[in-house]
């Protein structure tokens, strides 16, 4: 029953996304919505490892950028279509995810977080020095002139991101309600006890880091076509790392709805602030809200709502 409701509402989101492109003409909305949806994917991906499994990833930007640069390479080398870019970006970042999964064998807690941060720095340095993809100068990407069914390429990218967001949320929802999700929760609560209770901890952690990596890479794959100019400091921007961590924390890390809520609220606030105040204010907003939530509502908005409704009943 619950499953049907969830899947139906996910389908409804896709249909709604498609319908919107028939109604709204102002291109700015697609630009803004793309970013928000991209954060839905990133926050959801982060949460599979950070929220469900308890391993904090500070290197989300690395996975995102790796997806973006995989696209750059494929566009330049083979003029590959977007579907191929998304699949390839997911695969490459997924492999990186599998790699950091093995780090969890030795690194826990804050040490794991620092390692992921270091990973982002190392990768960024690599891309700065890789001439083929533009090096530090960056590279221009030319969008295809037309796309079937859509009046503009941005509308098309928006529709793609709607689908990706729905896929990401569905994956998270499935994990959450499966044996895998319960195993991950056991790892988060106490890894040693989980292993002794029959949970194959290493295998599940590898699943979590890989799935998380795949989704982040997928989010980054259409990025070159969105910005049309890719350079390391924008692809590896701190915004991605901070936002994909802050959004689930603010929304709530224990359910799939948390990162979605966090990404929509915070993403929208950032877009509004960019237009009305200044684009430099974004991280400040996130920072202040994050600090407020960590102190006042460590379980996020979802946790807050649960506490209030429970309080009323009890």
């Amino acid at each position: 029953m619950q499953r049907r409701v969830f899947l139906a509402s996910m389908l409804a989101v896709v249909v709604l996304g498609a319908l919107v492109t028939r109604v709204i003409q102002n291109q700015y909305y697609y630009f803004a919505a793309y970013v928000i949806l991209q954060y839905v994917v990133l926050a959801t991906a982060w949460n599979i490892l950070g929220g469900y499994t308890g391993y904090v990833n500070f290197g989300s930007a690395a996975f995102f950028a790796l997806g973006a640069y995989t696209s750059v390479v494929l566009i330049k080398a083979a003029a590959a279509p977007l579907v191929v870019l998304v699949v390839a970006g997911g695969l490459v970042s997924g492999l990186l995810g599998l790699g950091i999964g093995y780090l969890t064998l030795r690194l826990r807690g804050v040490f794991f977080a620092i390692a992921t941060l270091a990973l982002a720095v190392v990768l960024q340095t690599m891309f700065i020095n890789w001439e083929y993809v533009g090096g530090a100068r960056g590279i221009y990407i030319i969008r295809p002139k037309t796309v079937p069914f859509f009046t503009s390429y941005v509308e098309f990218l928006f529709a793609v991101m709607v689908v990706l967001a729905v896929v990401a949320v569905t994956v998270a929802w499935w994990i959450e309600n499966s044996r895998v999700g319960r195993g991950l929760a056991a790892i988060r609560d106490n890894e040693e006890a989980a292993e002794c209770m029959g949970v194959p901890t290493l295998k599940l952690k590898l699943v979590a880091t890989t799935v998380s990596g795949v989704l982040m890479g997928v989010a980054g794959a259409p990025f070159p076509y969105y910005v049309t100019y890719v350079e390391p400091s924008s692809a590896f921007n701190l915004d991605y790392a901070v936002n994909s961590l802050a959004m689930p924390m603010i929304g709530g890390t224990t359910t799939w709805a948390g990162p979605v809520l966090g990404a929509v609220l915070l993403g929208t606030a950032q877009q509004v602030a960019t237009v009305t105040i200044s684009s430099a204010l974004n991280l400040l907003i996130v920072g202040i809200i994050l600090v407020a939530f960590v102190i006042l509502a460590p379980e996020g908005i979802i946790g807050l709502v649960r506490r209030v409704t429970k309080g009323k009943r009890g």
Binding site: R182, G183, A185, A186, A193, A194, E195, C196, M197, P200
Partner: protein, 241 residues
Amino acid sequence: MADPLLEVHNVTKRFGGFEALSNVSLEVREGERFGLIGPNGSGKTTLINCISGALRNDGGRILFRGTDVTEMPAYQRTRLGIARSFQIPKPFTSMTLLENLCIPLEYAAHARSGGDEAAGDAREILRLMGLESKAHITPAGLSQIEMRKLELARAMAAKPKLLISDEAMAGLSSAEVDDILAILFKLNEDGITIIMIEHIMRAVMRFSERIVVFDAGAKIAEGTPQAIAENKEVEKAYLGE
């Protein structure tokens, strides 16, 4: 005499230059109530960490029901039938008691079957442990003895053949110790082999059919509770010369 359920052959474990276990060998028979005692730091917990797979031993072999488990990860040993409780309770804090038990039920006891069955079994185990009224709260709301019972209940939920109870009674009152002892006796009657690690002599002496004494990483005595109580070596290990 029953076949050995667990065989430990010449197990050695080092932490850097410190030898926590040196050449330890012992056997636990099917259905036995086995006591493991020794002063603090004598290597009891290290040994059961090696048996359960939390640590890998540097030398020697460990056999469970004839299968060499020395190289096996801990979760596979649990699936084979070795379960343990932790000296310092390590509950899954974000889950209710019922969900706590569902983890081993789902992952170890019936690794293949579904979730509904697990919830039913979990309820049954909570009832046996006298925790059924707390099924839907998280471990944060438990008292000290309830926490110990949860540790045992969760180990039981793995449906083990061998249960290792690591100081399940430390810090409990005399009545509470009896409470836990009764549970362990009951489990043993149901056919589960039990290794008890305990500092409370009254409990170990009453419970165990056979006791092994550790000192400084080596086995110094083995025998019935009666024989151990009269052993001069043991007295020396505990009280000094």
